[in-house]
Symmetry: C2
Subunit: 300 residues, 2 copies
């Protein structure tokens, strides 16, 4: 199976490094500099003090024609729009597309793509891009994937043949899968980014924990969650298990990068607006993050 990977950020590089052990991978990069760096050095994967090198073909994104059997789109949600535009302008729409964005705001955009199998995934790995061709695999996890639209055949084959050290798990219900991650992100990311604390602090500090529960309760009401208690326990578990981690949104703010707040809180706020529900907490945390992005002059 030939696999194309669009986007060479931390997740793109991580996927390329592992997936190339089982499939023929081409990675598509935004800059020509990164393209030639990867072609020259391969992709360096660091994990627990060891490092391995994978040689994959790198091409600039402008060269992408969608000729691979499966294309994995790893860019952030706010970078997705031009890629979907491009997909819809290709002479032949690629057969199988797997989208790995956080949040759920992009699902509407995916519906605009016709005649093809669309898969979505939720990545639970911790990865840090150290330079244009080096990625550090800090947190071992899994990747959940599910059918959003179309036929499951190629996705099953992909999951089945993936390297055992980089597990892919096929889920039945894409909505539940993405919503699960959305809820966790919507609580942990903004709070840690505003307070500038590690994940564990949200449950170890009794007052922060109160805010966590308040915010979760509003999210749960807006999304009309059936199993509200379960989701809360999951959030608490994740804070416990990743207590020393700095969330991606905190790291984005610290590094003057644009955050995924639109994909995460923005999506839930839109839901609240559609349902004509007040969501003052979500709104405040959304604006506090947008304000922090503005101060720092964040770059996508």
């Amino acid at each position: 199976m030939r696999v194309g990977i669009i986007g060479a950020g931390s997740i793109g590089l991580l996927f390329a490094a592992y997936i190339s052990r089982a499939f023929e991978v081409t990675i598509y990069c935004r800059s020509t500099e990164q393209t030639s760096e990867i072609n020259k050095n391969g992709i360096v994967l660091k994990k627990k003090g060891e490092q391995t090198k994978s040689f994959v073909q790198a091409l600039p994104i402008t060269e992408w024609k969608g000729v691979e059997d499966l294309t994995i789109i790893t860019v952030k949600q706010y970078q997705l729009y031009p890629i979907i535009e491009k997909i819809n302008q290709l002479p032949v729409i690629p057969n199988n597309l797997l989208f790995l964005q956080n949040g759920m705001g992009h699902l509407k955009q995916l519906e605009t793509i016709p005649f093809t199998n669309i898969y979505v995934g939720s990545v639970e790995h911790g990865a840090l891009k150290e330079n244009s061709y080096t990625v550090s695999h800090n947190g071992e996890g899994i990747t959940n994937v599910a059918v959003f639209k179309g036929d499951i055949t190629l996705l099953s084959e992909f999951v089945f043949s993936a390297p055992i050290e980089f597990p892919l798990v096929l889920k039945e219900d894409y909505f539940q899968m993405l919503q699960n991650k959305l809820i966790v992100n919507a609580v942990i990311n903004p709070l840690t980014a505003i307070l500038q604390v590690k994940n564990g602090e949200l449950i170890n500090n009794q007052y922060y924990f109160q805010v966590l529960k308040n915010l979760y309760s509003e999210i749960s009401t807006v999304l009309n969650l059936k199993n509200a208690e379960e989701h809360l326990l999951q959030i608490i578990d994740i804070c416990k298990n990743t207590s020393e981690n700095r969330s991606s949104m905190l790291r984005d703010i610290e590094a003057n990068r644009m955050t995924e707040v639109d994909a995460i809180l923005g999506y839930i706020l839109e839901e609240a607006q559609c349902k004509k529900m007040a969501a003052p907490q979500l709104e405040n945390f959304y604006y506090l993050i947008k304000g922090k992005e503005m101060i720092k002059g964040a770059n996508p």
Copy 2:
């Protein structure tokens, strides 16, 4: 007129320095070290690069018998309880007491003091305690005072005879006077302390300004403000005029001190509870500040 001042923090020292130009002042301190420092060095007042010295009598708070014609209580609201206990245990309740705390939570406590004239005040000066006997007068303002209970005679005399360079303004309605300041503090203090920004940033950053308006709107609903627009304009004005200032709550958090959040947001939250109103924003900002106090291990 003999004036006693209880508390030798920034406001106590500031008042002692100015008021002693017109009245005979005794300042009562919590520590014997500070007492002897003030008796040895006088109170040094720094203003616009100049410094003046006032010699006033300092005594430890344990020596306070309430014998002066007027006692000005300048401690923070969270330090007030033992002082009111002490007042109520004195053989003779002092005739005239002026309380200068922020917030409004202390009014209930003041009602427990019998047979005396009780005045309240709201200080609009900026002052910084540099050491145990030195205070820097950074922001020139006024002190509003009003009768809370009893007879106005002594307060009028005090206002009339105060030094012209340290203006006191007599207000008719103590409730409006304190509520005015409470509302400003309830919006500016928590937001600047959580975001760690100067006052001006709350109106210059469009997203922070949105949060300011949201929070104000909830406060306005809870307090059932008649002139809601006016208060908001006042808040905006103050952010403009003090744009380079760091709020007292921000400075408290930075210096690991306990904040006045209970006196300010805590009071409005209690109002909401009494009226059985939801106040999710106030609650979250309250807990975020309490959480920050806890992290720092804040000392009163």
